[in-house]
Symmetry: C2
């Protein structure tokens, strides 16, 4: 499994709804900000903790934590947060060889504001991530991986978008599966035409939550979005928070219940870890119901604590499902 | 309240006893390491999270979280971890004006290895902290604060030791209370003569855990250490983990029970937050039993989660005791 994404360190604080209102951002969204705005918002945030993040990076770490072989491509700088990112991803057993940027913007960071309802709202300063480019995609790594996983967020920085397309091209040439997450409904709005083209013609497996799939097809009803995506010969794993997920293909509709959570603490990374569980199963040829159950399980672990990287032993948890 | 200490960012990972054994360090200790060893240990540690730390800084943050007026002096560099440290301490309302180092070693960090028994073992790279010096101690800030709080760890870097002595001198001249924590039994071993002199002649209030006070007097029985320190006209708040604490003066012995903890997760910061609660009460002239109870309360909060900075609303918790 090879994942490519914007490499970020999360800076997580607990905030109230009034703080989000004062920023003027919708709860649950991911907004891109420049370095000045990031500094301004950080100055106003409460005490924070730093944990490595980045959507596809979280997913790939989850795959490795489940016991899968995993590689990641994403760009950080040769600064302290870059060291933190590289340490954390390698410490979970992921192969991470992307050269550090030695000039230009610092390592990207995602300011994550967690509200008392456990929702997360993000302000992302991409930093060094914007300089991930096609040259960072090792064709051999793409060919070696059974499944390529790409985050929709890569469409925001132009060079990264090009890296996305190049990687997808190498994977398809080599007969590998290409999977993508739509990442965020506002990200879908920004890149709808390109995402529609991707989903309909260039990928095998799509991850999306309800808001994202509705945004893609500009429809109001989940059923209508499901009907649309089933026309395109892909596997679509559609997550619906506490209502679990629905995995659909042209021929199948598999309803997957959410895994029970003792205490919901921070939803950051729920989608990323769902994808991790699903992809771990998918890459080993498991049936869609099992893939979905592994996704629900990994998501339930990550939302029970602060941060988007798994803390519990996912392999041991998965053994309960896999027997 | 003014605190002075080694300013550090904690890098916290979950490790097993075998990992500690491979490092050859006693569980529960704090070892000083140079940058090379810190890098080597970090490379071997599992995925980590970064949270601002530093013993006296944790205490001062606790005082501010309880509603006290608080200032901190400690040295970081103008790097990313230095920004993190400065942000987190200011975000809790602490006045922090120590100029950033613009050259020399990077911001110090403390590698905190938490074992399954919730014990923490630390490897500290002091970094920029070693350049805290007497010039960083603003005499006006010392005179303004009702209580000065100094960490014993300051005795490790020579310039910081000098800053400690200068600050204590200003405080006593101005008729302020001087409080000190012995920090760590190995630190006591390194500086026993100086610590004994301090406790016997230069401070009003001493914090120590059982191992530290035994190390100070080179005795085996807690009762003997208590008898010794009662001879010196100080208030001594002696913590004994789950057995609570004993607060003694020449005239009084107050036994304080530990505050119940639902789940013991990470003992990092237990002593620091005990001191925070105690000092908050002490600086407001509360009786020793109430000071101790506030200490137990703040300690119980910090050991119920990862990291040495309070997460819950300490002020609201304290209201339950203070009515």
């Amino acid at each position: 499994m090879l994942g490519i994404g914007n490499a970020l360190v999360d800076v997580i604080s607990q905030e109230d709804d009034g703080f989000l209102a004062s920023l003027g951002v919708p709860k649950g969204s991911m907004t891109l900000v420049d370095e000045d705005v990031a500094t301004e918002v950080y100055d106003r945030m409460g005490p924070a903790i730093e944990i490595s993040g980045g959507s596809a990076a979280n997913t790939i770490v989850g795959v490795a934590a489940l016991g899968g072989t995993a590689q990641y491509i994403g760009k950080v700088r040769d600064d302290q947060l870059g060291e933190v990112f590289a340490h954390d991803i390698r410490a979970t057993g992921v192969l991470y060889e992307t050269p550090l940027a030695t000039a230009g913007p610092p390592t990207g960071r995602c300011l994550v504001m967690v509200t008392p309802d456990a929702q997360r709202t993000m302000q992302t300063y991409l930093g060094a991530s914007v300089h991930l480019g096609p040259g960072d995609v090792d064709p051999e790594a793409v060919r070696r991986a059974g499944v390529l996983y790409l985050e929709g967020y890569l469409f925001d920085p132009p060079e990264a978008q090009e890296a996305f397309r190049v990687a997808a091209g190498h994977a398809r040439e080599a007969g590998r599966s290409v999977s993508v997450t739509l990442s965020d409904s506002f990200c879908v709005e920004r890149h709808r035409a390109a995402f529609t083209d991707l989903v309909e013609h260039h990928v095998d497996l799509v991850f999306a939550n309800e808001a994202e799939i509705l945004a893609l097809y500009e429809v109001d009803r989940f059923e209508d979005a499901v009907a649309r995506i089933r026309d395109h010969g892909v596997v679509a794993a559609l997550t619906r928070s506490e209502r679990g997920s629905v995995v659909v293909t042209a021929d199948e509709v598999v309803e997957v219940p959410a895994h029970p959570v003792e205490e919901l603490v921070d939803t950051t990374g729920a989608g990323d870890l769902y994808a991790a569980g699903f992809l771990y199963g998918y890459s080993r040829g498991m049936d869609l119901a099992t893939c979905g159950a592994l996704g629900s399980l990994a998501a339930s672990e990550v939302i029970s604590h602060v941060g988007a990287r798994p803390e519990a032993d996912l392999r041991a948890l998965a053994a309960q499902i896999l027997g």
